[in-house]
Symmetry: C2
Subunit: 243 residues, 2 copies
DNA sequence: AAGCCTCGGATCGTATACAAACTGTGCTAA
DNA sequence: TTAGCACAGTTTGTATACGATCCGAGGCTT
């Protein structure tokens, strides 16, 4: 592990369409990892040369990685302006969670029907890792693992289309959380994951769906979306923030 | 309209993450259009130089367009092998329609709540255009317009995340239809679109959802997925087919 | 003093050159 | 005759050079 992101996700939610070159894929993963665990906050510029210098890659490679990230909505690219870590609006945040609330309960139900013992064991390991990270005060890692948990469930459901949707939604949620998360103490509702595992292990698809729905509703509830709604509109406020 | 695809979609389901360069976006649209209306069948190789020669673009541009297409699952890229029009398997076909069946009814319901008169008028125009194309025996155009119809509903619903998912699913469906469509006569069940418009116009969200669900089930029903299921597995069968 | 303009640095857009990889063909040897 | 191999042609992978664009700084004008 010589890379700067030594402790990136273990589940390695593999990108939907594998980048052709291994180098581009590597840069892609590094940047994604940095965004996921909030080392790169929303809005951070990602100049091609600079990124390339960091990872020892040429602009060609970096460009390919950035384009891939932009297709997933984690990076936004403006023509002639370059790439930056995406900065989801309140409306986007709502839309993402709305989509999660439709898709993930269904995915959880399917996962409950198909999960075998090894799957459950893996989920337990992930949850423990998340728990450990939380206890160690490693919030960055905890948030990444929490996302992995959702991705793993999608993987267990064995429906690749949904899995890729969930993957994208989870990644974007990470960005949203870093912008709009309200209660820093109640971190990511780990107990919800435990209950979910139980439902999955016992094959109760209906309950799994219900728990997932509640879990996501809970996450959404932890967001502070209403009051900032008008904030970015006011230029005065933005200037005040700068001074 | 000097382009070879003069009659591409009018709704122009704009790509999710706009390609940075206008040239790349143009190549992207041309290829996508050609895939959508089945001029480029699944499996067709897309060598960078060749595509570039056709559109008078350099490989850099073509590459960017192909990568974008591959992120949407319409083109598959294998490292060192290049790009080809995707060739969805039976399993993928099922997965895509399963996803549509979850997402689109919900989208239709939302659209029913939000549709204004102009929206309904647009849908009617699209349906008529589809109808005309069908009467003129222009199946290529009809299939594109049919996809546009679904995209428009998603646009009306005003939920960008769902809209982009629908867009991707619709595009992939076009590929699936060209491979697995069984009954060539009953083309795309236009009456279903008419009923849907009525439900949307009268704001009956529940009925819109139900109609959409049935419509997609109907599409799925028109696919010939079962018998080919085992075919690609057996090498002997494949060889037998060749002779 | 405020607004406008020009210029310079930084960054992106694109083409292209060269290297690496893969495919298929034809030759050679068993 | 057939298996293996070497080589040539084609296509992709990558770096880089050069031009275009954008943004901000500083000076100039009013």
């Amino acid at each position: 592990m010589t890379s700067p992101v030594g402790r990136a996700s273990t589940t390695v939610a593999t990108e939907r369409a594998p980048l052709r070159s291994a180098r581009a894929a590597s840069v892609y993963r590094e940047i994604l990892g940095a965004i996921l665990d909030h080392r790169l906050p929303p809005g951070t510029r990602l100049p091609e040369d600079e990124v390339g210098a960091v990872y020892g890659a040429s602009r060609t490679i970096v460009r390919s990685a950035l384009e891939a990230l932009s297709h997933e909505g984690v990076v936004s690219i403006e023509p002639n302006r370059g790439a930056a870590v995406a900065h989801p609006t309140v409306a986007e945040a709502r839309a993402v969670f709305e989509a999660r609330q439709l898709i993930e309960p269904r995915v959880a139900a399917t996962a409950a029907e198909r999960a075998v013992e090894a799957d459950i064991a893996m989920l337990r390991r992930q949850m423990e890792a998340e728990h450990d990270a939380l206890h160690a005060g490693d919030h960055r890692r905890a948030i990444v693992l929490s996302g992995d948990f959702h991705n793993s469930i999608a993987a267990i459901a064995g429906q690749p289309v949904f899995a890729s949707f969930v993957r994208e939604l989870v990644v974007r949620s990470s960005l949203i959380l870093s912008l709009y998360w309200r209660r820093r103490e109640a971190t990511c509702a780990t107990p919800a994951h435990g209950a979910l595992i139980t439902a999955l292990a016992t094959g109760r698809s209906g309950e799994a769906a219900r728990l997932m729905d509640e879990h996501i509703a809970d996450l959404l509830d932890g967001l502070d979306l209403s009051e900032r709604e008008t904030r970015p509109v006011s230029l005065a406020d933005m200037l005040a923030l700068r001074r």
